[in-house]
């Protein structure tokens, strides 16, 4: 599974904030923090406002703030949709 990676897309209401490949995504949903790795089951979750951390394949970590939105996972495609989102 290690060669697999996630395709991440982070969009806010008026623009696409970031998209690319990642090894892991950590986000904060209303139920608590959730870590997503490749092969995760399809999921739709509501985000609570907070930080979204994206670990790139090289190991680098990018941090985004996301507010008021949701997160969907399917076939290793992670879409984080937030009304306000920005790179921290």
């Amino acid at each position: 599974m290690s060669e697999k990676s996630l395709k991440v897309e982070l969009v806010s209401a008026d623009s696409s904030v970031w998209s690319g490949a990642a090894k892991m995504v950590v986000a904060k949903t209303v139920e608590g923090e959730i870590g997503l790795l490749p092969g995760h089951e399809p999921m739709l979750a509501i985000l609570s406002s907070g930080e979204v951390r994206v670990t790139l394949p090289e190991g680098e970590v990018m941090k985004f703030s996301a507010e008021d939105g949701f997160l969907s996972v399917e076939h290793d495609v992670v879409t984080v949709v937030a009304r306000n989102a920005s790179l921290v």
Partner: protein, 302 residues
């Protein structure tokens, strides 16, 4: 200078001033269309993602959410009208208003009561002039829509949708806005927003595509509760952006033809003024010649 000539010169000058203004407005609109189009494009990923998610939830859950279920009887319908704040955009606002009137007639013939929500100063003016009332109105910023306005509109309509008919609630919500097709074509469009018809999204998922079985967190109802307002906001925001792009395109077209007309007027008046000048000169010459003639003949008689 003769009176006729002076009048023509005045007219030429006024046409030139008008032309300068319309030309400037044309150029401004032209530059703004591009920006407005970019904003439409920039908001597309968001609305696509939201539409996809809503479609997915709607496909895989059989729950009856108040926003998606068709009420047994629709007694009152709301129409949200998107027009511009400013005029000088050709038939932009009146096309939308005409479409609204048609829709109102249709809804009334179905025995529904119609209430209005207005966006843009032009629609407010239209309603005030006819002494008609509107539920709510939003003025300002139609040429550069902000997401906050879309959210305010969405909150207002969803709140009224959730209210009972007896307390002034509505059972159906329509949007009337101008869809940006191309630089030269903008079509007024009617969309029924609520109850939801998820099928017609910005980009409907293809038929062959099968949605995966989603896990919902915390649960389906909560996810749908959170998603639907977002979906409605995004639809309204998209309508506003489309309308803004259409407004600029319509204004550019209107101002272009105004500039052309001013140019035509200037040309015509220049011809007429040249003619007037020439006839003035001719008249003066013939007066001089006639005068000299009269003098010489009177001299002969002496």
């Amino acid at each position: 200078m003769g009176a006729q000539l002076r009048v023509y010169r005045q007219k030429i000058k006024s046409a030139q001033t008008t032309k300068k203004i319309t030309r400037a407005m044309e150029l401004i609109s032209a530059s703004r269309i591009y920006k407005a189009q970019q904003r439409v494009a920039a908001s597309t990923p968001y609305s696509r993602a939201v539409t996809r998610a809503v479609s997915a939830v709607a496909t895989y859950s059989n729950i009856d959410h108040p926003l998606t279920t068709e009420p047994e009887s629709i007694d009152r319908a709301a129409i949200v009208i998107f027009t511009s704040d400013r005029g000088l955009a050709g038939a932009f606002s009146s096309n939308v208003l005409k479409e609204t009137e048609q829709l109102s007639t249709l809804l009334r013939s179905q025995g529904k009561d119609v209430v209005y929500y207005l966006v843009g100063r032009k629609s407010v003016g239209y309603f005030n002039f006819r002494r008609r009332t509107a539920r709510k109105q939003w003025i300002g910023g139609t040429d550069l829509p902000a997401f906050e306005t879309a959210k305010a509109i969405a909150d207002a309509v969803v709140a009224d949708f959730g209210t009972d008919f007896k307390d002034g609630g509505v059972d159906e919500i329509h949007l009337v806005y101008s869809r940006f097709v191309s630089m030269i074509s903008q079509v007024p469009e009617v969309v029924r927003l609520l109850p939801l018809e998820v099928v017609e999204g910005v980009e409907p998922p293809s038929k062959s595509e099968v949605f995966p079985l989603y896990e919902f967190e915390p649960d389906v109802n909560k996810v749908l509760d959170a998603l639907l307002p977002v979906y409605i906001e995004s639809r309204i925001f998209n309508a506003m952006l489309q309308s803004a792009a259409s407004e600029h395109a319509a204004r550019q077209k209107a101002m272009k033809s105004a500039t052309d007309n001013a140019q035509k007027l200037i040309l015509n008046y220049t011809r007429l003024s040249n003619q007037a000048r020439q006839s003035e000169i001719t008249q003066q010459i013939s007066e001089i010649v006639g005068g000299a003639d009269a003098l010489s003949t009177s001299g002969d008689e002496d």
